[in-house]
Amino acid sequence: MEILRIDKVSLTLEGRQILKDLSLVVKEGSIHSILGINAAGKSSLAYLIMGCADYVPEKGKIFFAGNDITQLPLSKRAKIGITLAWQEPARFEGLTVKDYIMVGMKEKKEALIEEALHQVLLEPKDYLNRVVDRTLSGGERKRIELAAVYAMKPRLAILDEPDSGIDILALDDIIKLIKNLKKHGTTVLLITHREEVSEISDITSLMCSGLIVKEGETKDIVKYFKEKCVPCPTKIFPSQQNGEFRGGIIN
């Protein structure tokens, strides 16, 4: 059964087309990766699904659990079970880790907050009363973001580059957390530019220049990504920019 369907969605920001007739189906209970190089439009897709203010599609529809949510505001999408772990999480003056994690929890149980912190290898007694501000390192903040999503128990968790800013040794723990999300019934839409992260997915969609260009079993897509995708030539070779050279995929 599908939990998310994106039907021919286009998005333009500041005159630049970011998503072009993009379609995507995510099955309930799966880990579904969106794999692509930088600037492919992955984060924009995440913001569009979440319903962030500037990310309103000019055409196309978004369905969640069979209901059209294209016009549904951000907080209402969260209330029906969608959430986003932000790639660069915000910082808040005065808001403690405990407060922050608790915001999205339906049942405000301290035991669940502690469990969530343990999932990201942070010791609750050291972190619960710390403030989610610039006194936390980027890696700590990122772990707390993932803990907050875990504690919220959403139906769909969009994880935008969950491994970025986290040391390589912790990658296994992040992967374990993602698997645990699935185990607890959360569907995971995993946005990443690293094939080794997407390898835990049940299915992977390859994204490039605002399009899903290929989709299938993760091992096949990862193989294709390794062999065929290069860093975006529009960034590396600006002189080669032209209308036909669509970033990232070797034709």
Binding site: L74, S75, A78, W86, A90, G94, L95, D99, V103, M152
Partner: protein, 312 residues
């Protein structure tokens, strides 16, 4: 008198205070309604001499040499009528090796036209400390004019900490002016948090002069204004001694038609001193709001949470 006392305690409780502390003989306190002392308890090493004047009270406060007052001293100032003037003059002296923490509640729950002036001269000796937390509780009408002024001198190896908050009820008109001087190895930490709305007017001028070698200063302001409220914050740190270090940190959030002005002044006259500043005025960060909304809060709930935690 008894009725005023009971009414003050009730208002104090509504402002977030715990009236039971006034029954504890180990905790010093002073309760003043308009120009009358209606409650007082002193402890060893602390002298408080209040004298009634036509429009208020003059207070001489002294902490004796070598005495560090263990529990915070509670001061409660209020005017429970709709109109009135209350002028508080404080002369405080913390002798060498002495220390005190003061917790002041200023309560004007039904103010329509009240002027509350506070004029303080504070002298902190060497190896001493003075911590002053002031919490205001105003009513919903905004008919209060609050004018706190203080001149504070801090000796060597000492510290001064003030924490002013006006978060409950309307501000009315607020005009704060603090001047401080800090000597060798001493520190200054002034924090002011105010939430203004309606047509409230907030003006703050804080000046810290780091005169002593290795002195430290922090001036921190957190102001939120909405509706038609206005704020102007002048934070000035002057450093004239070697190894003096200071920082000015001012954040003002505006909503609606409010107006905010921040003027951080750093004034350094010694090549081995350093003062930094940061000031930000604007609406709340969109990403902070959207992050909380992505956890299920409505926009208004997200804004309220961010503001309340910032001002806490």
């Amino acid at each position: 008198m008894r009725e005023d006392y009971e009414a003050m305690l009730k208002a104090y409780s509504e402002a977030g205070g715990t009236p039971d502390i006034f029954k504890n003989s180990n905790i010093a306190h002073l309760i003043i309604h308009k120009n009358k002392v209606i409650g007082k308890n002193l402890i060893k090493g602390l002298t408080i001499v209040p004298e009634e004047t036509a429009w208020g009270i003059e207070i001489n406060l002294k902490v004796e040499k070598g005495i560090k007052i263990e529990n915070p001293v509670h001061l409660c100032f209020g005017v429970l009528t709709k109109e009135g003037i209350q002028e508080i003059k404080i002369k405080a002296k913390i002798e060498d090796n002495g220390g005190v923490k003061l917790l002041a509640h200023c309560i004007f729950p039904d103010a329509v036209k009240i002027v509350h002036k506070m004029d303080a001269e504070i002298e902190i000796g060497n190896d001493a400390y003075y911590e002053y937390k002031e919490v205001h509780y105003h009513g919903k009408i905004g008919g209060v004019e609050v004018i706190p002024q203080a001149k504070i001198k801090v000796g060597k190896n000492s510290h001064l900490l003030t924490n002013f908050s006006l978060l409950q009820g309307r501000v009315g008109v607020f005009d704060l002016n603090y001047e401080t001087e800090i000597l060798d190895n001493s520190s200054l930490n002034i924090t002011t948090k105010i939430y203004g709305y309606g047509n409230d007017k907030i003006k703050i001028k804080e000046v810290g002069h780091l005169k002593g070698r290795n002195s430290r200063g922090l001036l921190k302001s957190r102001i939120v204004v909405k509706d038609e409220a206005e704020s102007e914050i002048i934070n000035e740190l002057i450093a004239t001694a070697p190894e003096a270090r200071g920082h000015v940190d001012c954040v003002e959030i505006i909503q609606g038609n409010a107006r905010a002005k921040a003027i951080p002044i750093v004034n350094v006259a010694n090549e081995f001193a350093k003062v930094t500043h940061e000031a930000a005025i604007g609406r709340l960060d969109k990403k902070e709001i959207e992050t909380l909304m992505s956890r299920g809060l409505d926009e208004e709930e997200a804004i309220d949470l961010i503001i309340s935690k910032m001002l806490q």
